[in-house]
Symmetry: C2
Subunit: 189 residues, 2 copies
């Protein structure tokens, strides 16, 4: 239900987009309701009508981010060739697509806001990560390689998220290939 009857984005979506953009531009700690309202093209009252508190807004940002990663992973399921450590490869590829592609901001910055404002907002993320571990544990032929591959992607994503990545595009591509090799071939005996 992304659009209303007249084919325009709903206020909710406009607000979430605006909030994500702003966090990417001015930083997580500087996100204000006034700024979000202005960017979204409505008043502060209108914003607080849609999200009764800042916490509610942040929660929605996080949830949207979680849903996007899940959707990306399931979409990949039909595209990626099955085989060794499939679940880890799906998770890795989904995360890489989100965080090293263009949509990184929404994923990354939502997290940042959350930790700064209220660590409790990360509870849903905790659940998702626990589920991911479960899925990887169950759907991997080589658990060690699967875990390391997943963690490496997490590490890379985190560096990119905070703009701390020292990697060139070439480096990154190299790393992605190495992760895939690790996931399909495993650790040397």
């Amino acid at each position: 239900m992304l659009e209303n009857a007249r084919g325009r984005k709903s206020s909710r979506e406009k607000i979430l987009d605006a909030a994500s953009e702003l966090v990417a531009e001015i930083g997580a700690g500087r996100l204000t309701l006034d700024a979000v309202a202005e960017r979204a093209g409505l008043s502060k009252g209108g914003l607080l009508y849609n999200f009764p508190s800042k916490d509610a807004l942040l929660q929605a940002m996080i949830q949207r981010m979680i849903d996007q990663v899940s959707a990306s992973r399931e979409a990949l399921r039909t595209q990626i060739e099955p085989g060794r450590n499939l679940e880890a490869r799906l998770t890795a590829t989904a995360l890489l697509n989100m965080c090293c592609g263009g949509r990184m901001q929404q994923v990354a910055t939502g997290l940042m806001v959350a930790t700064a404002e209220n660590p409790r907002l990360l509870d849903p993320v905790r659940s998702v990560i626990a589920e991911t571990l479960q899925r990887i544990k169950e759907g991997s032929e080589d658990l060690d390689a699967a875990l390391l591959g997943w963690l490496a992607v997490e590490g890379l994503s985190n560096l990119e998220m905070h703009n701390l990545s020292p990697f060139s595009d070439q480096d990154r591509e190299h790393i992605v290939q190495a992760i895939n090799r690790l996931l399909t071939k495993g650790i040397a005996p």
Copy 2:
């Protein structure tokens, strides 16, 4: 110079400790000068005498964190047996000691504050990471394994930092062993 002439912690250290503790307890976005001063056992004036602004305090927190990791790595240099991918193993072990041991908070929370308040504060961290990459590139026989090992440690550290880790102590130990195997044996051909 952690202690002054009478063998007590200097005010600077007390303040930095207090700030780290507070961030760990109440979250990065809620750190206030008043709270730090109270926790450190001096007045707000005294706090601002030592750190003329909140930014200066945050900078010092970050710097201390960087220095701790560096020191830990160099201390390990005399303890870890030399061999394959030494630099990556040193970096990995230093990070693991910091983030999965007790001192995690200082390392982790400094980062969190910084990103919330002012992304520029992370500039020194950027430099350190770039240097680390350089060191690993130069001091590794198997670059792919070295990079993946390092990234996996970064991923694990990040999860622990944000309290997002789904791993049991057993899991963690298993992972650390797997990382060491990856670093010493490499990826399967």
